[in-house]
């Protein structure tokens, strides 16, 4: 019998999630984004994105299961052709939304809430976030953004909290099978949530804090044997650190295994990785570098890009042409090896001259003919280093254009004493500015908007021979006078690729800071969220159109936020009263009140506060995991004050439950139009403007 209510709620959530799921046969919302990534998995082409791969792999899997071949482009707003089984894919993705409801129910049960409170949690999860979670209701949309991943993120966040509460209830059966099972379950959930989005690390922090407190308690138990202490520690390290790390790495391993064809994300990776992708022609590059060769230079540091320059100039420092590191293929990445100014000009018909260690050369930017240049002006971001710019042209220049080639070694041929000529891809080089003795370096420092958020290139005055951010290799190499190469390359080790990709993701993520010059109507500030200050029009607002409006269910948002304040006040009052020796609860009740309160409140805080100090752009959907914790707290407080209170009769409790449930469901029904679409002129719909800041009605 105890599983009947969750089963009913699950069916209900199937209905809300699947209802009219195929209504809009267009690419809507972020399907444009993630549908495309899913296609890449089916076509097995390497792509790059700032989020870890698990979520997108699941999209790809959904496509595979529904028989999609990956050929569709997923342009925003475009109609789906016959060949794309979009309904099946949407159903598979909506499963993550469905599963949240039973997870919410069972979590509430495990947290020791009364039946009434469990029902409320399930109802709130069911009604709470419908508009943004089920993208289908939201229909076609002018703008595409990342929301699809969030339903997976939410589902895994829910399952982590569920696992944690299950594990907590096993605490008196340490090392039993169930104990191990739920500890491992929590660990795997953490691994999954972090492999969907890095935001998942916040829930890991919650589990971490819980574990630290738990172990601190155990540490104080002097009766426990040292062996048991160590086993407890070891179990946590194994299940909550090693296991999640393995899951996280496994998702990347599969990512690399599946994506073994050359694709749009190639240039984010090291040259060697790219060379091993099917469809890559680096192996055909001429092997030996000579004067007059056109080439691209890849920085070998973690997340390094290609040496790049473009006509835009530095607005600071020398005001000369910018030099950056760029992660996409582009002809502005091409450089030509030229002799010094005091040497005879390069003669395309003269004798071939190969580049070797110690040569002093000029690097000419192919498309603008300017020369790579450095001088003692501080670089724009890394102020301790010198600026690197492009200066002069094919005939104008000075000795500041001279760079000495220093060979470090060759990945294939070993130490530099063993060879003379420099090979593309495998030889590791450093470029020393001859005049000032500094080294060409790029280390993931992001330029401001004027540099298009590309990576800064500077000249490091400290010679640090071990610094891989000063290491470069030749990536593409063109020279008509040389025969094409025919190289075989080592596969680059997984661990290298893994770190490299993570650093690249981190760097791109950091570049997602708000651009003050650009207005992003989707972005909102964290302070707008708890009180639901803003809603969002998701399409045109004409009288004839079906209108969709992104808005949470106000009663749930406000109720959750109010409960946060109420909880703090209650906690304060209880503590004050304890200090004055009033006894309100038995120790067991007090412990329970604190335990659930801590999980919910700290969970909320950890998922909310970091956004306040993060520099990057934030969107309202970032609040959804946070909302879950405030829902738990809301139910917990109702439970504490009403449902579990000895002061009230069952009748009173039934009435209270009825009122709250009615408010939530009624509120959801009242605003259903926003999610299901409003037809006809907006002014004929009454009573939707609950806050002045919402722009549901047209104001004149």
């Amino acid at each position: 019998m105890e599983h009947v209510p969750p089963a009913i709620y699950t069916l209900l959530s199937c209905w809300t999630r699947f209802h009219k799921i195929g209504k809009a046969p267009y690419v809507i919302w972020d399907e444009a984004h993630f549908g495309k990534f899913g296609s890449h998995y089916l076509k097995r082409e390497f792509y790059f994105d700032v989020h870890p791969p698990l979520g997108k792999m699941l999209v790809g899997l959904a496509g595979l299961l529904s028989g999609y071949d990956g050929s569709f482009e997923f342009k925003s707003g475009e109609q789906y052709p016959e060949t794309v089984p979009y309904v099946a894919m949407r159903v598979l993705m909506a499963m993550f939304g469905v599963v949240m409801v039973p997870l919410g129910w069972y979590t509430a049960v495990e947290l020791g809430m009364s039946q009434w409170a469990c029902h409320l949690v399930a109802i709130m999860v069911l009604c709470g976030k419908s508009p943004s979670q089920s993208p289908v209701y939201v229909a076609w949309l002018c703008i595409s953004r990342f929301i699809l991943l969030d339903s997976m993120l939410l589902a895994f966040t829910f399952s982590t909290v569920f696992g944690l509460s299950k594990f907590h209830n096993q605490q008196y059966q340490s090392f039993s099978f169930d104990w191990w099972l739920w500890l491992a379950f929590t660990g795997v959930s953490i691994g999954c949530v972090a492999s969907v989005k890095w935001i998942g690390l916040f829930v890991m922090a919650l589990v971490g804090l819980y574990t630290i407190e738990d172990l601190w308690e155990k540490f104080g138990d002097v009766k426990m044997s040292v062996q048991d202490q160590l086993r407890h520690w070891g179990a946590r390290v194994l299940c909550l650190i090693v296991l999640p790390a393995l899951v996280y790495m496994a998702s990347f391993k599969i990512h690399f295994l599946v994506l073994n064809h050359s694709g749009p994300g190639d240039s984010q990776m090291s040259s060697l990785f790219q060379a091993n992708l099917v469809g890559n022609d680096f192996a055909k590059n001429p092997l030996d570098i000579a004067y007059g060769s056109k080439l691209t230079l890849k920085n070998m540091g973690w997340g390094g890009g290609l040496l790049h320059s473009h006509v835009q100039t530095y607005p600071v420092g020398s005001n000369q042409q910018q030099v950056t590191c760029y992660h996409y293929k582009d002809e502005n990445n091409d450089w030509i090896i030229m002799p010094r100014w005091d040497e005879p000009d390069y003669d395309p018909n003269g004798e071939l001259r190969f580049l070797k260690d110690g040569d002093v050369i000029r690097l000419q930017h192919a498309s603008t003919t300017r020369n790579l240049h450095s001088h003692s002006i501080p670089a724009p971001v890394t102020k301790l280093n010198n600026e690197v710019s492009c200066y002069g042209n094919a005939t104008i220049g000075d000795y500041h254009d001279y760079w000495e080639v220093e060979v470090v070694d060759d990945i294939k041929r070993g130490r530099k004493e063993k060879f003379v000529t420099i090979h593309s891809l495998t030889t590791r080089l450093r470029f020393r500015h001859q005049d000032s003795g500094c080294y060409l370096r790029a280390a993931n420092a992001i330029l401001p908007q004027w540099g298009f958020k590309q990576v800064e290139v500077s000249c490091d005055k400290e010679n640090n021979p071990k610094d891989i951010h000063t290491y470069w290799n030749v990536e593409s190499h063109w020279n008509d006078r040389l025969p094409p190469g025919d190289a075989k390359f080592y596969r680059s080790p997984f661990f290298r690729d893994f770190i490299h990709l993570n650093v690249a993701m981190w760097t791109s993520n950091n570049a997602l800071i708000p651009d003050p010059d650009k207005e992003d109507i989707l972005a909102s500030k964290p302070t707008d969220w708890p009180w639901l200050r803003l809603g969002l029009r998701m399409c045109g607002w004409g009288d004839q159109q079906t209108k969709y409006y992104l808005l949470g269910t106000p009663v749930i948002w406000w109720g959750g936020t109010t409960s946060l304040i109420v909880f703090l006040v209650t906690l304060g009052v209880y503590l004050l009263r304890q200090q004055r020796k009033y006894v309100d609860m038995e120790p067991r009740e007090w412990d329970h009140f604190l335990y659930v309160g801590k999980i919910a409140f700290i969970g909320w805080f950890l998922h909310y506060f970091p956004f306040m100090i993060m520099g990057r752009v934030t969107y309202v959907h970032h609040y959804l995991p946070t909302l879950y914790f405030s829902v738990l707290l809301f139910a917990h407080l109702l439970d504490h004050f009403i449902f579990s209170s000895r002061r009230f009769t069952d009748r009173t409790k039934w009435i209270a439950f009825g009122v709250v449930a009615f408010l939530i469901v009624g509120n959801f029904w009242w605003f259903r139009g926003l999610a299901f679409g409003i037809d006809g002129p907006i002014h004929e719909h009454w009573g939707l403007q609950w806050r002045k800041t919402w722009n549901i009605y047209n104001q004149l």
Binding site: W216, F219, G220, V222, P378, K383, L384, S436, G437, K461, E462, N463, D517, K518, E519, L576, Q579, R580, K581, I613
Partner: protein
């Protein structure tokens, strides 16, 4: 001065009675511990050193040295250094009584003004640039620099006194004082016209007073108890009023007081009545008194600055009209329909401008324009800045109804080209998200609606008249609801590098504020007063002090948060405790002289190590106690938690909030924290050397309390030897780095390189690194 007072205090009370557990009260019963190994007697050396005479002698020597180090060559350089540019100028404004605006509260700057006035500075020198000569301008700058130098010197005995009051022996107290005395950063910062010396001095006095206050906790509500409570409040207010970051001292004392009150709330300790008495006493002493003091400084600030000055434009029109000679006061006039006016953007000070040239059909990035007439922002007076205000409603021939009012819908006619201002849903040249502004010929009525703009006066009531100069407004386009806006970005050559004007979709954008600079031409209306010609001198209006204060306080906070521009010597807080970067204050290329703000490396690293050691000790103690092992005797542990813990709290509260600030940060923001870390270093040194002995009891006992058997700390020979050796090392490094601190003598490239102890320091005039290095 302060130090002598302390000594007298101590002298009166006699030996062994003084000194405190600063933070939380110990339960009185717990005081009676017997400690194995704790000494109840002192060695003769220790006794001699801790005698009042020896203590007085040492504090005298330290103070004298402090004055010597701070005043040595204080006249060098005779040029404006670093932020003297600002603070010297503000002092000049006080003397001239011209209104200025700054993000910091006025107390420290008032002191500079006072010092300047005292030494006869006339306020004419403007401190324009770093490197301007004082001697040429006959500025009595030495007198002004003497003020922070005196306060900075007095900080040293106050630090000594804090340690002494906290129950540490003379040598340990001297150790903390020496860390401040021989610190190049503290010295460099207090020899110049900068606010930090005042801030740090009053911050240390606040800590001192609070500790004194805590030591009277057993004779509560006595005269001394009240005295030190109020002293804490007053000094706290002075700290806060010196510099915005003084607020951290308030937070710090606040946390300590809350912990204290929480403890008093314990039912075993006090009745509710006693608790409320304590609560109210603290509310008076630490909230009410500081607030009054803080407001008083602002009152003086406003009372002194009665004339119009460079700060006028930051303030609201109502505020500006209280300043004598303010332009608004003199020239603000009502605007009527058909007036021809010039319109200026409030933030960037450009005129709304248009000319015959048109937008190019296609921009560089391939987007298409409307090819309409250009509307730009132009910085200079020009007849193309003239716009006529055209009504959109019927007007009577004459009378008050012809005045333009808040929320009126108007058209703006560009006089020279006879075309109306217009905006439409075409992307502006530089920002695809914003709307293009252009104009439309007067005779063509096809786009009448697009030429309608609503006038939103800022903070206006219904029907308020639009005035020139004072009437700040936003111009909101009626059909598309965008605000006319401009910002510091130049259009390309086709618009003569003038500033772009576009429509901002955020209609409430704060920086979209404009005002009418001048009424160029108007139709005579005999029924209304004449607005042209000479105006009579007007008396400044009055404005309620609290309104003025509120406005200024909010502006200060806003501007402080807005100081985000990058600065070559700005550094992030994580670098500070390790002294990874300094600030170049001043350079003189001819003689290769420079002033570089950098601390004493040995001292700073000692301090940060001490904090790490403290955390280690506390952590180990916690872990051990968890396993029912008690490695540290209770009295020592209480001292560690309550006293050293309080110092660490001061350090943390003055340090960690900077991580959350996005404004530009400098290493001198760490100096208050550094002072706290020097206190921590002293007490950690005591812990290490003392073999678990402490001076006890140190709080003042009430007459009814049972006397306790005193304990004494004993460091033996180790104490003096360690401290002297350390002081010597500190002194050597101090002297070695002194050329960078005092800006003299000049150093050649290799000498500079030799003083670059960490590779992250960016000294000037360094020799080029030799090849292959």
């Amino acid at each position: 001065m302060a130090s002598q007072q302390l000594l007298r205090e101590r002298g009166r009370k006699g030996k062994g009675v003084a000194l405190s557990e600063a933070d939380t009260t110990l339960v009185e019963e717990e005081d009676d511990h017997t400690v194995s190994g704790a000494s109840r007697r002192q060695s003769s050396l220790e006794r001699k050193l801790n005698s009042d005479k020896a203590s007085a002698a040492i504090v005298g020597v330290l103070t004298a040295l402090a004055f010597i180090t701070r005043f040595y060559k204080i006249n060098n350089p005779d040029q404006v250094v670093f932020d003297e540019v600002h603070f010297g100028k503000f002092a000049a404004h006080y003397i001239q009584r011209e209104y200025y605006f700054d993000v910091h509260p006025p107390f420290a700057k008032l002191l500079f003004g006072l010092a300047g006035w005292f030494v006869g500075f006339d306020g004419h020198f403007q401190f324009e640039n770093i490197g301007d000569s004082y001697t040429d301008a006959h500025v009595p700058y030495v007198g002004m620099r003497a003020l922070p130098a005196i306060l900075g010197s007095l900080t040293v005995p106050v630090v000594y006194a804090i340690m002494k009051e906290s129950g540490y022996s003379t040598v340990v107290s001297a150790f903390s004082a020496i860390l401040i005395l021989l610190d190049n950063a503290h010295v460099a910062q207090s020899r110049l016209i900068l606010l930090d010396a005042t801030l740090i001095f009053f911050m240390s006095l606040t800590i001192y007073s609070y500790i004194r206050f805590r030591k009277y906790r057993f004779i509560e509500f006595s005269q001394e108890w009240w005295g030190w409570l109020i002293a804490t409040g007053v000094f706290m207010a002075c700290t806060w009023a010196s510099k915005v970051n003084g607020i951290l001292t308030v937070v710090c004392i606040g946390i300590a007081v809350l912990a204290d009150l929480w403890d008093l709330l314990d039912y075993r300790k006090s009745s509710m009545e006693r608790f409320w008495n304590h609560f109210l006493a603290r509310a008076v002493g630490l909230i009410l008194v500081p607030l009054v003091v803080y407001l008083t400084f602002f009152w003086i600030h406003f009372a002194v600055l009665t004339n119009s000055g460079p700060g006028d434009t930051f303030m609201s029109p109502a505020f500006q009209e209280t300043l004598r000679g303010n332009e608004l006061l003199l020239n603000s006039q009502e605007i009527r329909y058909y007036d021809t006016v010039t319109i200026k953007h409030k933030n960037t000070k450009v005129f709304l401008h248009s000319h015959w040239e048109r937008y190019p059909l296609k921009y560089e990035d391939g987007r298409i324009s409307s090819q309409g007439q250009q509307v730009t922002g132009y910085g200079h007076p020009d007849s193309n800045n003239n716009w006529q205000i055209i009504p959109t409603k019927a007007l009577p021939e004459t009378g008050r109804a012809r005045v333009v009012r808040h929320d009126d819908v108007i058209q703006l006619l560009h006089v020279n080209t006879q075309s109306y201002l217009l905006t439409h849903d075409v992307a502006s040249p530089l920002m695809p998200t914003n709307q293009e502004f252009t104009t439309w010929p007067k005779d063509d009525h096809s786009r009448y609606n697009d030429t309608l703009f609503q006038l939103h006066l800022v903070d206006a009531h219904d029907g308020e008249a639009w005035k020139s100069k004072s009437g700040h407004f936003r111009l909101v386009h009626v059909p598309t609801k965008v605000s006319m806006w401009t910002y510091q970005n130049q259009l390309p050559d086709w618009a003569f590098k003038q500033q772009e004007v576009n429509g901002n979709k955020n209609a409430a954008e704060k920086t979209a504020t404009w005002y009418v600079d001048e009424i160029v031409d108007s139709e005579a209306d005999p029924s209304l007063p004449d607005r042209t010609g000479e105006v009579a001198v007007k008396e400044p209006k009055k404005l309620n002090f609290f309104k003025k204060f509120g406005e200024l306080q909010i502006l200060m906070l806003q501007h402080n948060a807005g100081l985000t521009a990058s600065h070559p010597y700005a550094s992030s807080p994580i670098n500070w405790p390790f002294l990874l970067s300094g600030i170049s204050f001043w350079t003189n290329a001819d003689e290769q002289k420079q002033i570089y703000l950098i601390g004493n490396l040995i001292g700073w690293w000692t301090c940060v190590t001490a904090i790490a050691v403290f955390i280690g000790i506390i952590g180990a103690d916690l872990l051990a106690r968890r396993r029912n092992i008690e490695p540290i005797p209770d009295p020592v542990r209480n001292r560690l938690w309550n006293n050293t813990g309080f110092f660490v709290l001061v350090w943390a509260v003055h340090y960690f909030p900077f991580f959350l600030m996005s404004r530009q940060l400098f290493i001198h923001h760490y100096l208050p924290s550094h002072l706290a870390s020097a206190l921590v270093a002293g007490s950690v040194l005591h812990y290490i050397l003392s073999d678990d002995t402490i001076n006890y009891p140190i709080s003042v006992r009430s007459a009814t309390m049972k006397p306790k058997r005193p304990l004494y700390a004993d460091l033996g020979m180790r104490g003096p030897v360690t401290v002297i050796a350390f002081a010597f090392a500190l002194f050597c490094l101090y002297v070695y780095m002194a050329p960078l601190t005092y800006g003299t003598p000049g150093l050649d490239g290799h000498q500079v390189n030799a003083r670059r102890l960490l590779s992250t320091w960016t000294l000037h005039f360094a020799a080029k690194p030799t090849d292959g290095a």
